[in-house]
């Protein structure tokens, strides 16, 4: 019996559990990494190579954008899909502004209650006190962003540019990917980035560079079936990916052991460093791709462990990524304020890490519950 022709993920029915799982995991990692000096952040991916949770989050965002909107476009036309995308962009924008206000209010509260005005300065909110009208104006333009509020603006810009490209992604995925890589290379070479506020600052995540991760995800959602038969033949790709991951983890390990670090010759170190995050260094990008390739081989969409009850909270968080992302960013500041009172206490780091993840999970469950209720009501 011959299997039916493979269906691209964007047409396949049902939900790919991997997307929720890894997006949830990325959200957990982002939270843990945002608590300073956090011992628990040892489990996050950034310690074992070049890339971190941001790549995972942006990649899956691109992948799910195609899955969510291409079906709509094919069924109800481009205009309807584009309108829905812009409604989503609007939701992201509202979420970002709400997060900005809540974030600022929390810091204002903490600094008034504890009489520590320097907290405002610490969180890059000083612009707000010096020139509030200008700062609010710049915040509305996404140019003024306190510390750690950089990911949503990137996502907003990426998704806002997405509708005109959606039909092209379905029809000429490889051309879109080529164009995306071209823009990435040009931005790297010509130092393109969007301006930020205050003057002379640029976006922490350069959209012209980071778009390549988003469109890699988007294109893969279309061309995935074309890759499947190549898995066995592409032993070399797998071997290269494994070798590269080992190389990256060796470099990462060398940051912890000077005896290993001394083994790295100067000419090699000169090629490696610096590993720029703002402009997505090619080493980071390749590291993410190698990781994605291996994960794709190891974790099939129906992998059993994805359904293990202990991973359920992670998947729930991934299903409500926008709410949980905002909540995580907000809680990371709370954690920071709490931990800063017990600077070197490992117990406080572990407690706020766990508490944050528990709160994020509870809210994700509540969101699912509300959604289910709304569906029953409708």
């Amino acid at each position: 019996m011959k299997a039916a022709a493979p269906v691209p993920p964007y047409l396949a029915p049902g939900r790919d559990l991997r997307l929720d799982f890894f997006r949830g995991l990325a959200l957990w990692f982002i939270y843990l990494d945002h608590v300073p000096n956090n011992i628990v952040s040892w489990v996050t991916v950034r310690n074992y190579g070049f890339s971190d949770a941001t790549e995972i989050f942006v990649f899956i965002s691109g992948y799910t954008a195609v899955i969510a909107y291409s079906r709509m476009m094919l069924k109800e036309g481009w205009l309807r899909a584009a309108t829905r995308i812009y409604r989503r962009v609007w939701q992201l924008y509202v979420a970002h502004i709400l997060l900005f206000v809540a974030f600022t209010a929390q810091i204002a509260y903490a600094s008034i209650a504890r009489d520590t005005p320097q907290l405002l300065e610490e969180m890059q909110l000083l612009g707000l006190g010096q020139n509030p009208y200008r700062a609010i104006f710049e915040a509305a333009l996404l140019k003024f962003r306190p510390v750690n509020l950089d990911v949503l603006p990137l996502y907003i810009v990426l998704l806002a540019a997405f509708p005109p490209l959606l039909p092209a992604i379905l029809r000429w995925p490889w051309a879109v990917l080529l164009g995306s890589i071209g823009l990435y290379a040009l931005a790297y070479r010509l130092d393109w980035n969007l301006p930020a506020y205050p003057e002379d600052k640029v976006w922490f995540f350069n959209p012209a560079a980071w778009q390549v991760v988003f469109y890699c995800g988007a294109v893969l959602a279309v061309v995935a079936p074309a890759l499947a038969p190549l898995d066995r033949r592409w032993r070399t790709v797998t071997a290269l990916a494994v070798l590269y991951l080992l190389f990256a983890s060796f470099i990462a390990l060398s940051w912890h052991y000077n005896s290993l670090e001394r083994l790295i010759p100067d000419w090699l170190a000169r090629q490696i460093y610096p590993i720029d995050k703002t402009n997505l260094d090619i080493l980071r990008f390749l590291h993410f791709l190698a990781m994605a390739w291996i994960v794709r081989l190891l974790v099939r969409p129906n992998a059993r462990f994805l359904k293990w009850p202990i991973f359920h909270p992670i998947r729930r968080c991934g299903e409500h990524s926008l709410q949980i992302f905002c909540l995580g960013t907000f809680l990371a500041v709370t954690a920071q304020i709490i931990v800063s009172r017990y600077e070197d206490s490992i117990v406080s780091q572990i407690l706020v890490s766990l508490a944050g993840l528990v709160i994020m999970s509870l809210v994700a469950y509540a969101a699912s519950w509300l959604k289910a209720q709304a569906r029953v009501a409708a």
Binding site: W42, N258, D266, R270
Partner: protein, 254 residues
């Protein structure tokens, strides 16, 4: 995705975190903290005006790129440490760090950024971006002279802060030449020199791993690195400005 993958992951975490367990203290030897300049203007300001005004001029290190929180940037730390050490003295520190700038770009804004603050000290963190861009050494030296002249004409003392000792800088073929030129120009122009490169190298040679003080881009200081540099810089400045109040042994815990 099976048991062995899980076991490998656990093993990796164990291996990595063992390396992290051995966190070392923030320190530097006394000679390395010597600025080689009395900072006379700053000392007079502290004694007579009960005030110290510092402009931190520099690039990403000064701006605090790489720290999880701007309060860990060395200028913010410098302010906190000086305030704690000199109660009753008004301490102002203006952060004028702009990421990516080299000596030339900073000279261009030196007057604009220093003048309005009436600085007693300009801490000028410079050299790394010039070294990465391979600026000719003579041109680099001329820029430094020009910048210091501008600051001096505005009535400020200088503390030059040289390159950071991090993988991206150490890999350069001639990073020590830039550090050498900075030391020469500082001496010639009667400026203080905060030997960040040598201080951080001593950390490394004492066995402190890069992961403790550098972010994983291999270029920028992380929270620990920023805090420690801020603390050591405050000790250097205190020694010059307020010699009666010796900061004690330089080897102190964080």
């Amino acid at each position: 995705m099976s048991r062995w993958t899980f076991a490998a992951a656990v093993g990796a975490v164990a291996l990595w975190s063992t390396g992290a367990g051995a966190e070392m203290q923030c320190r530097a030897s006394r000679e390395l903290l010597e600025l080689g300049n009395p900072l006379a203007i700053a000392r007079a300001a502290v004694a007579e005006e009960r005030e110290l005004r510092i402009v931190a001029m520099g690039s990403s290190s000064t701006q605090g790129y790489g720290a999880t929180n701007p309060k860990y940037s060395y200028p913010a730390q410098l302010k906190m440490k000086l305030e704690a050490a000199m109660p009753g003295i008004q301490i102002h520190v203006w952060n004028k760090g702009i990421g990516g700038q080299d000596a030339e770009e900073m000279v261009a804004r030196m007057s604009k950024d220093v003048k309005p603050e009436h600085a007693h000290i300009v801490v000028w963190q410079v050299g790394t971006n010039s070294a990465i861009r391979r600026d000719p050494l003579t041109k680099f030296a001329d820029r430094l002279r020009a910048g210091i002249d501008i600051g001096h004409s505005l009535g400020a003392n200088f503390v030059m802060m040289n390159l950071q000792y991090v993988p991206a800088v150490v890999a350069l073929p001639d990073e020590e030449e830039y550090a050498r030129v900075m030391a020469e120009v500082a001496k010639e122009k009667n400026a203080g020199l905060f030997r960040r490169f040598e201080i951080m190298r001593s950390w490394y040679n004492d066995g402190m791993p890069y992961a403790q003080f550098v972010t994983n881009d291999g270029l920028h200081l992380n929270d620990f690195g920023q805090k420690c540099i801020g603390k050591l810089l405050s000790m250097s400045i205190l020694d010059a400005v307020n010699p009666r109040r010796l900061t004690g042994a330089a080897n102190t815990s964080k």
